[in-house]
Subunit: 603 residues, 2 copies
């Protein structure tokens, strides 16, 4: 049978290749540039050509293939030889249950085929083992990015013409699906290595080796050590850090070419939502009306609540999609709360299925107007009833973002009228008059809650967080930002005693997010942190590490307070005080984090 | 109070005029020609300018204002003096319960203001009275028409450029809403007078006078007599003539500017459907899917059944609109049957509300394909259940029109599978193999059922009818056709022993149906028989008279057969034998009808 089997396989490969080239159109990036490959790659893909040519002078100095440990603070440029690599043992310090990461880098003056990084298990002298299934590796691939606005003041605004911005490849997506990679001469390639120390681990030093190979054999060996401290970080779902990254299931449906809310869609969503869960994601983003943000993302948010105006003029609301989404998220363990957008969308227009005309229709009305108050009143009454039936009422928040205070007061009135028990959230400006009304209040980085107010809210079971958006030049999470700025968010929240961090886009992908992170508004990468194929990123990993830092600070504060260890508390607060966004021009996030990490990792 | 009241009225008129001119845009006809008035007039309106100029020579002979009886067979030209008018007593012969009609005409060489026709009650020497509420009058207004195709072979085909056809004003809409009319010099104007003889009336001669006046006084008096025979015509709802004129409620919603299926829409529909009922209309036209005829009319038929694909993939069908429509029609007495279009629409595409994507979607599938058979199977099963709940199952027909036999056989299979009891109708080609399957079978004029086959079907409770469409040059019901051809349909059905007549369009109005009956396909008037404002027409009145003729023939045949009066039967069949469409070039419909009327109106 064997020859026949082989022949069939070869034929199948041939046919599938033919099929692919015959039917698949070529993809294009958001700006209309052909990608040279079928659209929406999930597994193998080719990066866009590098707009920057390698400098021969720099590569002239590089004798052979360079292999070594780099820094997770650095995005190694594709066209440059990596500087400052070390071949010495890299020692990472971790709590039990913590994830720690490293970057190993290859810079090659010549073409390489089949480059791969192999990490074996880490062992301790006492026979302890961190097995390979706790060690994650992925190539740090290159994606097209741009830069801040020309005046250096953030990344907001319309960018219809990408050529006005400096476009470069930047190391961000972490590709765990590609097992080996060909490297062109005069390029660098990093590998992200993350060790998730098991909870039950004995403290001590665990050592192992990273083997860097190409098709012809070994390129280098890098010794790795993880120093496990006798401290325990809880599992992400038990973290108290409140991470709220808005999920866009519609982008996943489009990229995976599946029908929204089909079983295929649910299956495609899971890996992305697991990334969010493992980073400590707490909120489920639910769109309860059509286009809450007026379709500002490439894939707009459709309503998860079905709005129907019956021919007799009555309204009917169906929650089948909402339920499917929430149940899927809850089943993954993302079950703290559901944030529902939005009663006050950016465009006060509401789409519904109109039975009489058998068509989709919109009505426009503002809070305080009769039509608005009537329809939303009915919707909220029906919604409250449904949520109570599902046992979700206590976890659900009617969510608003960035609206004038007067509008919000009117909206609150309607919500309270429909059900006084509804919880409410706001991501927007700090209005002291609203603080007692909002169960989840998120203000931008530059607005400062009083610490006593935050503590009071926490004691009442209310959540207080901050967000960054396109506004901040630094810290931020654009694809070109220094990776440490993502981690900085958690440290800053710890310093301010805030409960957590919010960013408006976990995965509101652009057209070809693996290839080009630029969009027609905002600086590149503003709209997503994770990549197709369930790929994480340098940004997302460091953001998660910030969440870990916040948890560690919380645990240490509790312990020091409990034990009355005032000097330790003082030391801790001192390093935290460096997390002040106004100093980020002079002192890099990486620098202040290095100091702070040392403090929370004291034995 | 009086002066104040007057002032207010004047102001109100001023304001309403201002309001009208300020907000109302000018209407345009289907071909984009401005109508010189607000769109969609319901009460007063101005006809389009006459493309034909009066011939001064003809008018020179007309001394003063000419007033007299005309013929209901003639469409009097607006720009010509009416010929052959009579001032003598016009005697109409009627059965009890019958409607009989006349035209009085004014031709004026000079401008006239406030022209009106007043008909008093008709009285008999024995003191019997036909009171004024049984006498209907209306101006026969002028509407733009075109003509047959240039080769004289019917009126089918696309007519994007109206200028290729001779466009003239033609007398057709009967305007009972305008009480008096100004007439320009050198124009003619007819008035339609219809007497509906009450059922209980004593036989005998009833006489009265039609006074023709203008603002300055009497223009003429015309003596009118109705000779009531001692025979009874039943009320229209008891007629056995099966009249099926497809109703388009969507055209009424658009013209009246009301939301489809609102109470305002239902109220607007009633007068039109009463016209249909009073002409003996038997079938309710129901569209059970989106665009059964691929939107061929100016106002396409939307689905009266709401098709919903739920997010879990199951189908849901809602009948609220269907029920509202059927209940309204049944409440008017149009309750013999419901014809449901269409499982095999002209474009095999089906629109539904897709919950998953919150949008309207279409699927395309043909009978015999898995998707088609599955979805229609579910729809029909649900529909049958609903119809049985409503007690309508026995009256409902799944209706098809003009499809290949093989497709219909496949479709029948699906219907039978969903519910073997479903009744089925077809308007299309005569397939002998289908005759036993079809409860309502309508074939085009040129196809001839065997008389025995029709009798057999009738004995089984099945209906057999014929239709005309754009195909026939004569007889037909275009706005330019000789009025008698509309009546001819009933006589022909009587001759062929058919149960009735079908035309595909009662009121699929063009953009401005009162002004311009031309459309971008087919000869003018093909798409409607009645006019906005609940206005009847010369065509519609004569069509109704054909239905009366059919009923009268049916009654006489029954009586003669019962009484064994063979010579009378022979005489009757002899006059009926003249209703052969192939002779209509030589002998006008008016001529053969004149003879036939005499026969059925023998004392």
């Amino acid at each position: 049978m064997k020859p026949l089997f082989r022949l069939c396989t070869a034929l199948a490969v041939l046919l599938s290749t033919f099929h692919l080239s015959a039917v698949a159109q070529e993809g294009v990036t958001h700006s209309g540039r052909p990608t040279g490959q079928p659209p929406y790659p999930l597994t193998d893909y080719r990066e866009l050509p590098n707009p920057v040519t390698p400098d021969p002078a720099l590569w002239h100095e590089v004798g052979g293939v360079r292999v070594g440990w780099g820094s997770t603070d650095v995005r190694y440029a594709k066209e440059r030889p990596a500087e400052g690599l070390s071949q010495k043992t890299l020692t990472l310090t971790a709590w039990r249950g913590e994830r720690v990461s490293a970057q190993a880098v290859v810079s090659t003056p010549r073409d390489l085929r089949g480059v791969r990084f192999r990490v074996g298990e880490l062992t301790s002298p006492k026979g302890g083992r961190i097995t390979a299934d706790h060690i994650f590796t992925g190539f740090v691939r290159y994606v097209m990015t741009d830069e801040l606005n020309k005046d250096g003041r953030g990344g907001c605004g319309y960018r219809p013409d990408n050529s006005l911005f400096d476009s470069t490849l930047v190391a961000d997506p972490i590709d765990h699906l590609t097992l080996s990679l060909a490297m062109d001469a005069q390029t660098s390639q990093a590998c992200w290595i993350r060790v998730w120390v098991p909870s039950g681990m004995a403290a001590g030093r665990y050592t192992g080796t990273v083997r860097v190979e190409d098709a012809d054999g070994l390129l280098g060996e890098l010794p790795l050590a993880v120093e496990v401290l006798d401290r325990e970080l809880p599992q992400p779902r038990d973290w108290k850090f409140h991470l709220d990254l808005w999920q866009n299931p519609y982008a996943v449906a489009r990229y995976h070419r599946v029908e929204p809310w089909s079983e295929e869609h649910i299956a495609a969503l899971r890996p992305y939502m697991e990334l969010y869960r493992d980073a400590g994601g707490k909120s489920v983003t639910a769109s309860i009306m059509h286009k809450p943000w007026n379709g500002q993302t490439h894939d707009y948010f459709e309503s998860m609540v079905t709005w129907v105006k019956r021919v007799d003029g009555t309204w009917y609301f169906d929650y089948a999609i909402f339920d499917k989404w929430v149940e899927m998220m809850f089943s993954l363990g993302i079950d703290k709360q559901i944030n529902c957008y939005s009663m006050v969308p950016w465009k006060l227009t509401y789409r519904y299925f109109d039975q009489a005309t058998n068509s989709m229709r919109d009505f426009s009305s503002a809070p305080g107007e009769e039509l608005y108050d009537k329809v939303w009143g009915e919707m909220l009454t029906s919604f409250a009833e449904h949520l109570k039936q599902k046992g979700w009422f206590e976890k659900t928040l009617i969510s608003m973002d960035e609206r004038p205070e007067e509008v919000m007061q009117r909206t609150l009135h309607i919500i309270r009228k429909a059900d006084p028990g509804f919880k409410i959230s706001l991501a927007g400006v700090l209005h002291e008059s609203l603080a007692d009304e909002l169960d989840d209040y998120c203000v931008s980085l530059n607005m400062k809650f009083k610490k006593e107010e935050i503590e009071k809210r926490r004691a009442e079971g209310r959540v207080t967080t901050f967000y960054t958006s396109c506004t901040e030049p630094r810290p931020n999470t654009f694809t070109f930002c220094p990776p440490a700025e993502c981690e900085w968010m958690g440290w800053y929240a710890a310093r301010e005693r805030l409960d957590g961090y919010l960013r408006w886009a976990l995965n509101s992908w652009v057209l070809e997010p693996l290839l080009d992170s630029r969009f027609h508004t905002w600086a590149a990468g503003d709209t997503y942190l994770i990549y197709p194929g369930g790929r994480t990123s340098v940004r997302f990993e460091r953001l998660m590490e910030g969440a870990q830092a916040w948890e560690k600070v919380r645990i240490l504060r509790e312990e020091y307070t409990r034990k009355g260890n005032k000097s330790a508390l003082k030391r801790l607060e001192k390093v935290l005080s460096a997390f002040d966004e106004t100093t980020l021009v002079e002192r890099s996030a990486a620098e202040v984090i290095r100091v702070a990490r040392r403090e929370v990792n004291r034995r």
